[in-house]
């Protein structure tokens, strides 16, 4: 589903943010991408989302390769890969349901299908009662749920989450993580960047990919220790 082969990413003149990283996230798999701040977690997610181009190596997502993908193919790739940010990135002037509908409108979903789909997503993330609330009226956990619903709107095959619980308290973290597990149980692969050691410790059955200064230093699936 998602494959990184000897991927290095450098930004003009600085030390590489990601160095020679190789791993494979299979269909329906759940993995934590962990490491300290600046270890390269966000860069890896952006490489998978093809917001960054690798300096060397190759990223493959479904049938798309970073070395061959054309600009016109990006929208299709991005519909297959949902992305969730730590700071939610909701549009402040739209309500929760409008933020979710926005993702459907801009990808050309017919108007008649948008309403029922948004309703289903709101139910899925447990926010049906808060549909008409604006982001500023929602708690951090609720805002992240809206962001998750938006990321799921186009039924992605993979969900990338960049520190999705970083701004949440313990209870909200448990709620959002439970949501990810349910999404994963329905067949969507999840790659979740986090430096929350406690969360990782609580879920020992989840694969852990650990980065340190851009290098992959541990992958529980391969049981590789660098």
């Amino acid at each position: 589903m998602v494959q990184l082969r000897s991927v290095t990413k450098s930004f003009s003149g600085s030390t590489p943010a990601v160095l020679d990283v190789t791993f494979h996230l299979k269909k329906g798999e759940f993995a934590f991408l962990t490491g300290a701040s600046g270890a390269g977690k966000t860069t890896i997610l952006k490489l998978v989302h093809m917001l960054h181009r690798p300096s060397s190596g190759e990223v493959r997502v479904s049938r798309y390769s970073s070395s061959r993908i054309k600009r016109r193919d990006l929208p299709d790739l991005r519909r297959r890969v949902g992305y969730i940010f730590q700071d939610f990135r909701l549009l402040e002037n739209l309500t929760a349901e409008e933020n979710i509908a926005f993702a459907l409108q801009v990808t050309g979903t017919p108007g008649t299908k948008i309403g029922p789909r948004v309703q289903k997503l709101l139910n899925q993330v447990g926010l049906a009662a808060r549909a008409g609330a604006f982001p500023r009226e929602l708690s951090g956990g609720e805002q992240q749920r809206v962001a998750v619903a938006r990321a799921l709107a186009n039924e992605p095959l993979v969900l990338l989450a960049d520190e999705p619980t970083g701004n949440l308290d313990e209870r909200a973290t448990a709620g959002v993580f439970g949501l990810f597990q349910r999404i994963n149980a329905s067949g969507t692969s999840v790659l979740m960047a986090t430096h929350d050691a406690e969360l990782i410790r609580q879920h020992r059955n989840v694969r852990v990919i650990e980065l340190e200064q851009g290098r992959l230093v541990f992958d529980s699936a391969a049981e590789i220790v660098a």
């Binding site: 093809m50 181009r53 929208p75 991005r78 990135r89 993702a103």
Partner: protein
């Protein structure tokens, strides 16, 4: 309908910015409008002067009226010639005494009419250049009964020099104003795009196509351009009215010019918006 709705909501989201853009476009196109008004009136004045360019062939006294009539028909068939009017000796004297009233006594005392008959040849608008006028004068001079063909060579040359200068000035200034307007529109639209970078980034994240993202901005650019064009039209008209009331009588611009001005402002707004949003999309996305 959806891109139009989004364009309108984009305008609503940042009304101050939109007003600023409309004003920038309006003032730029207004400067073009003022120039067009000046150029149009110079052109009208030149056309009026130019309409008086004619060749006068003075005829020998022994020329028969029959031959003259045949020649007149021939001359009228030249592609350059609009009309050729025969002025007999008697008519020449009558017109001279009417136009030069201070000499009317002298004319009435004459025993012999000294004025020659003539053919007054006016030329078609496209053939009033010094070259064409000279060529017609030369051809007319070849008739044996034509004493002399005159057309005021220097005067014709001067009219044409003036028109060339006016035309060249119009082209250079008009182009400068248009470039200035395009730059201002580009900046204004880019500000509008930058104000919505977050929205664009979210659209890209969820998989919207470039053309989908661009469309509302293009419509917004078109609407802003048209609004700027209308503002420029109102300012130009106001200036026209003020000059008419206080200084000198001026002709208003032809309808086609005002429509072309509006279309120009709209298209300029759309192109500038398209360029700005394309650059922004490329900046946000590496592929």
């Amino acid at each position: 309908m959806r891109p139009l709705r989004e364009a309108v909501s984009g305008v609503r989201r940042a009304p101050a910015l939109t007003v600023l853009s409309v004003m920038a476009i309006g003032l730029s196109v207004f400067s073009i409008g003022l120039f067009a008004l000046t150029a149009h009136n110079i052109d009208l004045a030149l056309s009026d002067v130019e309409g008086r360019v004619e060749v006068v062939a003075y005829l020998r006294d022994d020329a028969s009226e029959e031959l003259i009539e045949i020649a007149r028909h021939e001359i009228e068939s030249y592609p350059e010639v609009e009309s050729a009017r025969y002025i007999s000796k008697v008519e020449a004297l009558f017109e001279a005494s009417r136009e030069l009233t201070e000499f009317s006594d002298i004319y009435s005392d004459l025993e012999v009419n000294p004025l020659p008959a003539s053919l007054e040849i006016s030329l078609r608008p496209d053939f009033r250049t010094p070259g064409d006028v000279g060529a017609v004068a030369d051809r007319v001079s070849s008739y044996h009964f034509v004493e002399e063909a005159r057309y005021g060579r220097e005067w014709v040359d001067r009219v044409y020099s003036l028109r060339r200068v006016a035309g060249g000035g119009a082209a250079i200034l008009g182009l400068s104003f248009a470039i200035g307007a395009a730059l201002l529109i580009g900046i204004a639209v880019r500000m509008s795009v930058l104000a919505r970078t977050r929205e664009i980034a979210i659209m890209q994240t969820v998989g919207a196509t470039d053309s989908y993202i661009r469309r509302p901005f293009l419509i917004e650019g078109l609407l802003t351009g048209l609004a700027g064009g209308l503002l420029a039209l109102a300012l130009t008209f106001g200036t026209h009215q003020a000059v008419e009331r206080t200084l000198v009588s001026l002709a208003w611009l032809p309808d086609l010019w005002t429509l072309a001005g509006l279309a120009f402002a709209g298209i300029l707004g759309m192109l500038a918006a398209g360029r700005a949003v394309r650059r922004e999309l490329r900046r946000l996305d590496v592929y």
